[in-house]
Amino acid sequence: MAGFSSFAPWDEPEKKPLIEIKSVSKFFGAFQAIHDLSVNIYEREFFAILGPSGCGKTTLMRMLAGFETPTSGQILLDGQDIGPIPPAKRPVNMMFQSYALFPHLTVEKNIAFGLKREGIPADETAERVNGIMKLVQLTDFGKRKPHQLSGGQRQRVALARALVKRPRLLLLDEPLGALDKKLRQQTQFELMNIQETLGTTFVIVTHDQEEAMTVSSRIAVMNNGEIAQVAPPMDLYEHPASRFVADFIGEVNIIEGRSGTANRGGIALAWNEGSDDLRVISDATPPVGTTVWLALRPEKVGIAKSRPEGKDNAVQGEVIDIAYLGNITTYHVELPTGAIIKAQESNLHRAANRGITWEDKVWVHWREDAGVLLTA
């Protein structure tokens, strides 16, 4: 979705969220895993919880599933507090990271497990199991045991087993972590298609930012038990709220400086004595003289051998590293302050040679609206 559709229930004030997490904290002994966390998740969303390991994302997911209870705060589903409801009684199902398929049961019986516990009649169970097996393309594998399946097939059994219960909310714990890269990319799109077909609300926990960017409608970036930012992927990338988010999502150059006066919709940024101030278009207008950071994505930084004319910002430096990746080339340029700026150029023509090599004095340049001014 990534901002290309008009699906944005979080911007509609009258829309009621499916899940309301209200100032939830969670302690394990003296260790606080979740710090006073609040977030809303809407019906039909594909919501990603992204963060480094130990950031509390798994704890948050386990609280949604019912395997952990919040130390304080509330989790509402359709306006009802689900805190006291055990996992077995919640309209929430989970796809486990290890898949947790029952090794002694066939694929069919694994998928039918949840329906049998609900006491759904045999013919309806069979119908629903067949339906979901078709959806995840497992029709020919019903009689196999989990150990006779490939990793990708097991992943689909786990998905089918959770989805066949028709949960209000499906939790996916690192669902693609065990798959190799090619299969993972393919499976990401399958997941998105399935989610769109069924209209189930998905919450995915992952440490893989590319995965989160690809599949989700919104991403919550977590750090140290707190949400650093919640936004659609595009906003998260182009308008990070803090250095942590800017750094965690994609690659970024951070230039530290002192804010100057505002004029013509932008402000000046003093970053190095003896160099011209940088000009930044910014929504934030911090008081003059505060320490701020300019976050610049490498692909928005150009490189030239001579001082470019008519660019908003240009800074001289020395090339210390060149990484040729085929489709792009990344130049690592050391500035007089010692900071390294990464400038990325797309190789639009075959064997494009810019005549830039190691230890060259070059100019890196970017537009005044290319970067984001951060105060945190």
Binding site: F67, A88, M94, F96, Q97, A100, F102, H104, G114, R161
Partner: protein, 299 residues
């Protein structure tokens, strides 16, 4: 690739071992079981005399017969002893399973850092001789023993219980002695079970008790089967426990064999009893082997 004589010897060693210490004694016992009792030394006939050559050989085989086995089948004492052994071994196995499973389950669910110590405690009794541990039970179970003194003291009973020299004492002895053989294989299967399977079962709508019966129990079945065989097979031929704790009331084939051999001096009949016991044991042993092979293939 040609194997050197040294390599060949290495491969042959286990076979040689089995030949000398299993097959040869078995054939001797089989031969004695087909012989007749006589008052001489050794107390059976015929004896194989190599000096008489081929004629002696033929005469020797002509004298062998199945008389002892026919006698075993006709005399209800032996049939009853076999049946009683089966019953005692069977019931003891069930009790050992119930107690052993609970202990194995508790072990597997105990905190990781305690587990090694707890498993050690299960094995600890092996450091003391089996015989001494069975004797210790006499001290506990006899009329003026520790158990009765305790129960009398706390006022639970007013007269001492008669446990010694009853089948109950034999059950207690067998369950106690073979418990580790039940606990260890079950613990091994439970311990390697993925905890998230139970969470998945709960997530899919089953209660914790249902999850135990639907997931834990079926997955621990290989351990349960191994444990049951490891208890049932030796319990069937058990001699020391019924002899020391069961008194004259308890009829078990191991004891019958001992009586036949040492009290009556009827070597041929005792050998026949042993051969039949072996045949009885072969059935569960073969089943056990089949199960183990299935396990190997299933992985």
């Amino acid at each position: 690739m040609k194997s050197t004589p040294g390599q060949r010897l290495f491969v042959l060693l286990p076979y040689l071992w089995l030949l000398i210490f299993f097959l040869a004694p078995f054939l001797i016992v089989l031969k004695i079981s087909l012989s007749d009792i006589t008052i001489s030394l050794p107390p059976y006939t015929p004896q194989f005399d190599i000096s008489e050559g081929w004629a002696g050989f033929k005469a020797f085989f002509a004298e062998l017969d199945f008389e002892n086995f026919v006698f075993l089948a006709e005399d209800s004492l032996y049939v009853n002893a076999y049946l009683s052994s089966l019953k005692i071994a069977g019931i003891s196995t069930v009790f050992t399973l119930l107690i052993g499973y609970s202990i194995a389950y508790a072990l597997a669910r105990s905190p990781q850092r305690w587990r090694a110590t707890l498993v050690m405690l299960v094995i600890l009794p092996f450091w003391t001789s089996f015989l001494i541990r069975v004797y210790a039970w006499i001290g506990i179970l006899k009329t003026e023993g520790l158990l009765n003194q305790l129960l009398l003291h706390i006022g639970l009973i007013s007269e001492p219980l008669v446990i010694m020299n009853t089948p109950t004492a034999v059950y207690i002895g067998i369950v106690y002695s073979y418990l580790p053989f039940m606990i260890l294989p079950i613990y091994a299967t439970l311990e390697k079970m993925d905890e998230s399977l139970l969470e998945a079962a709960e997530d899919l709508g089953s209660s914790r008790i249902a999850a135990f019966f639907l997931v834990t129990l079926p997955l621990s079945l290989p351990g349960v089967i191994a444990g049951c065989f490891l208890v049932f097979i030796p319990a069937l031929g058990e001699f020391v426990i019924p002899d020391l704790l069961g008194g004259s009331d308890t009829l078990m084939i191991g004891k019958t064999l001992w009586v036949e051999f040492f009290s009556n001096g009827d070597w041929p009949l005792a050998s026949a009893v042993a051969i039949v016991l072996l045949l009885l044991l072969i059935v569960p042993i073969v089943l056990f082997q089949k199960q183990q092979e299935k396990q190997e293939l299933g992985r």
